[in-house]
Symmetry: C2
Subunit: 151 residues, 2 copies
């Protein structure tokens, strides 16, 4: 049914639960999975407001944090990719820095996917209560069907 799936993950529990459903989608013709993580650029923005810690320049500090986040995410994406590859999927990894839902909608277009599989909630529960979750924004803005996995 959905040949190529975009699977954005923030590595939260509910997001990883989506894996179970992706694995089962093989029988209905899913062949390719684009595993995506977006490092939220806004989490580093306070460094740009001129706060220098431990003698470092804000720009250096930001770069170091970003490098760490990239390494961490990269490791987790590899693990997911290995699991999906073992199940016989063709896999692509996409690691971006930006505003998560924007990057996800951009990827939907660029990758020409046939559906998106997301967890209903991400990690930042309290923030999401007030601002709406990344998933809700993705559901609103996407063009393709979205499979929403619940906690």
């Amino acid at each position: 049914m959905f040949k190529k799936i975009l699977y954005p993950t923030d590595f939260s529990d509910v997001s990883l639960k989506a894996m179970d459903y992706i694995l089962r989608m093989k029988d209905s013709g899913t062949q390719e999975v684009v595993i995506m993580h977006v490092i939220d650029r806004r989490e580093f923005e306070h460094f740009e407001q001129g706060i220098a810690w431990v003698g470092e320049l804000p720009a250096d500090l930001e770069e170091r944090f970003l490098l760490n986040a990239t390494r961490e995410a990269s490791k987790k994406l590899q693990i997911i990719a290995a699991e999906l590859t073992n199940m016989g999927f063709s896999v692509e990894i996409k690691l971006e820095t930006g505003i998560p839902f924007n990057e996800i909608i951009k990827a939907e277009k660029e990758e020409g996917v046939s559906a998106i599989a997301v967890g209903s909630h991400g990690k930042s529960n309290v923030k999401e209560m007030f601002l709406g979750s990344v998933s809700e924004k993705v559901i609103r803005k996407s063009k393709k069907p979205v499979l929403v996995i619940k906690r």
Copy 2:
């Protein structure tokens, strides 16, 4: 993947588009579809505020409108049911009166479905912009995965 699907519809275009995806879910093991329509009780509530038109008692008027809405919905549900039956699904029709998202969540529990398939928007576009769509409420409150079909 999803053995029994709850398919709530308000007969809007995007809601009927969900049919295409349900039809294709047969290959992945979907056997049963519960087609559901909820007549929004609130649309009749102004009759209860004591406005009597054309010499009728509000209660009579309400009953007549409800009867009409039930007949109309029933016809449309039959057409959808026939189409799904022809495709080899086992089909159940559920016509309720109440507040749509409440009834849908109630049906999810009672019917023991494995997923819900909904259109992203219903008929009442302007109202939904302010209040959030029925689908968004279903996505928030459901326990099972929700496949959201886009316009």
